[in-house]
């Protein structure tokens, strides 16, 4: 299992499409930095193929005033959760 990191908003960059196409069936995706803008509907719908394996970083949501407005399909993790995700993955691939 690979963990993919995405730090771009789906509203401004198409890189999320390549990231999604590169993901295997059990890979996970963590939204960080400006990537967390995609954690809200309707942008989150772009990630429907990976619901259940889709995470967003709490501190990046909080600093942007978005905590509590996340789509319910997204699992929010803190920094420790981020580290845990990297422990569980064989490798980590960053998309930027």
């Amino acid at each position: 299992m690979l963990l993919h990191l995405l730090n771009r908003s789906a509203a401004s960059s198409h890189v999320y499409r390549d990231a999604l196409r590169a993901m295997a069936e059990d890979d996970c995706l963590l939204l960080t930095e400006d990537g967390v803008y995609s954690a809200l509907m309707p942008l989150a719908e772009h990630f429907s193929a990976v619901y259940g394996r889709l995470f967003a970083l709490r501190e990046d949501l909080a600093s942007r005033g978005l905590e509590g407005r996340c789509a319910e399909q997204i699992v929010i993790v803190d920094m420790e959760g981020f580290v845990q995700l990297t422990e569980d993955a064989d490798r980590v691939v960053s998309w930027f």
Binding site: A22, A24, E25, R91, V93
Partner: protein
């Protein structure tokens, strides 16, 4: 290199030439890996496919291009050049527009590429 990886290394090139140094610096990582005897696969995806377009030149102020570096890959024994077919089609390009022979990759093959290479460097 002390610990040679049992899997080939993957360098993913996602940026176009000239506009930024990502492509050049990504290629440098591939060259160094190969110089150390590591087997290297290149994957051109997204704007990275623009790196292969024929007829590129030096930029203004003598800014070096990356097209001579691509010609040099064979000297470093980097021979697996994969191109994401969808990225190519999205940009109105076909294989004969490219300066080197490449292997097109169908979308369903992408996940296994990432799974069967290590390390993976994404530029």
């Amino acid at each position: 290199m002390s610990d040679r990886s049992p899997m080939p290394m993957l360098v993913v090139l996602r940026h176009a030439p000239h506009g930024s140094s990502w492509l050049r610096e990504g290629l440098d990582v591939a060259l160094v890996g190969a110089a150390f005897g590591q087997s290297v696969t290149l994957l051109f995806i997204g704007d990275g496919v623009e790196a292969l377009v024929k007829g590129q030149q030096t930029g203004p102020l003598g800014q070096k291009g990356t097209h001579p570096t691509l010609d040099m890959l064979a000297m470093y024994d980097i021979e697996t050049l994969l191109v994401d077919a969808e990225s190519l089609a999205q940009r109105g390009l076909i294989e004969t527009d490219l300066q080197l022979p490449v292997t097109l990759v169908a979308p369903e093959r992408l996940p296994s590429l990432f799974a069967h290479h290590a390390p993976v460097f994404n530029f």
